[in-house]
């Protein structure tokens, strides 16, 4: 049976995503590891999430569909980039985000950004989907199609319950 990581990657590939940048998170380690074995995706790790969004903007203008994989703490880092680059120039950007600081979180500090995550995304008018149970991922294909239809950054929050812990 296909793992959840395999299914996420298959949705990326089926939606012609060919350029993926990542800033790691433990919860996303499985997906990130799979990227390197995928022939149709160029995986480019970035050192900071706003840098990654710049890379994705360039790739999009060059004709490749991009995506970014990052932790929710990145929302705090990237507000200016999301607003003045991705949104201002109307570019699509699926953001697969580990939603740290939710139920099951062992690290107290992670709860501090978790309480702001959805409020910030709402303030930025970023369409936001929250994967809590495994079956929630069935919507990923539709979410990716929606992202490239409307040319917006779109957030997919994936919490510890979805990943079944750490």
């Amino acid at each position: 049976m296909a793992t959840i990581e395999d299914r996420i990657l298959a949705d990326f590939v089926n939606n012609d995503i060919e350029f993926v940048t990542t800033v790691p998170c433990k919860q996303l380690a499985g997906v990130i590891a799979k990227l390197d074995s995928c022939d149709s995706i160029y995986h480019i790790p970035s050192n900071k999430e706003d840098e990654g969004m710049g890379l994705c903007a360039g790739a999009f203008m060059g004709g490749k569909r991009p995506a970014i994989i990052m932790q929710n703490t990145a929302i705090g880092v990237t507000i200016n980039t999301l607003v003045t680059l991705t949104q201002y120039y109307r570019m699509p950007l699926p953001m697969l985000i580990s939603y740290r600081g939710e139920l099951g979180e062992p690290v107290a500090c992670q709860a501090e950004m978790a309480v702001h995550t959805k409020a910030l995304l709402a303030q930025l008018h970023i369409p936001t989907y929250h994967f809590h149970q495994e079956e929630d991922a069935e919507e990923l294909d539709a979410i990716l199609k929606y992202t490239f239809m409307c040319n917006k950054p779109v957030a997919i929050l994936t919490d510890a319950t979805f990943w079944k812990g750490y």
Binding site: I44, P45, S46, D50, G54, G58, M61, G63, P66, L85
Partner: protein, 187 residues
Amino acid sequence: MIRSEVIKQLIPVISDHFVVCNIGLPSQELHLMDDQATNFYMLGTMGLSSSIGLGLALAQKQKVIAIDGDGSVLTNFGTLPTIANNVADNFVLLIIDNGSYGSTGDQPTYAGQKTSLTAVARACGCENVIECQAEEAAQTVQQALDSNQMTIIVCKCESGNIKVPVIEMDPVVIRDRFMKKLEQRNA
């Protein structure tokens, strides 16, 4: 020689290529002197010219020149290891290093003091790093384009600005005409 003079002498070399231009005065100067569909002007987001340029170069075949500044590279220092480790031979990063934050009132940067961006780029693993003087900028960029090798150029020039109007074009228009021209060139 100040940055606007560097950009002016570059125009015959870069006019026909795809250019990602740094926020603020560099984009305004390029826009004033040689507005082209092949220019992508950054209207916001300080620091990301090199990242946008690298993503663009990796995604397609046309040559890409990213015009950046010393202050902007300092803002997005993580870009240099990413560039070094993801070689795109159609990419030229031109850092116009005037040792100051020109668009915000010429406050000095560390690049004009003890920090050498040339040495940093090399330490990050970039293989073709050339430092040149302002007068040599056009020739150095031409040689980098001709070499078909990813090149980082640190062009030292004097601090100072000319008066230029802001860019009033809509960002989506800038992006759309750029993408259409690129698609046409790649067809």
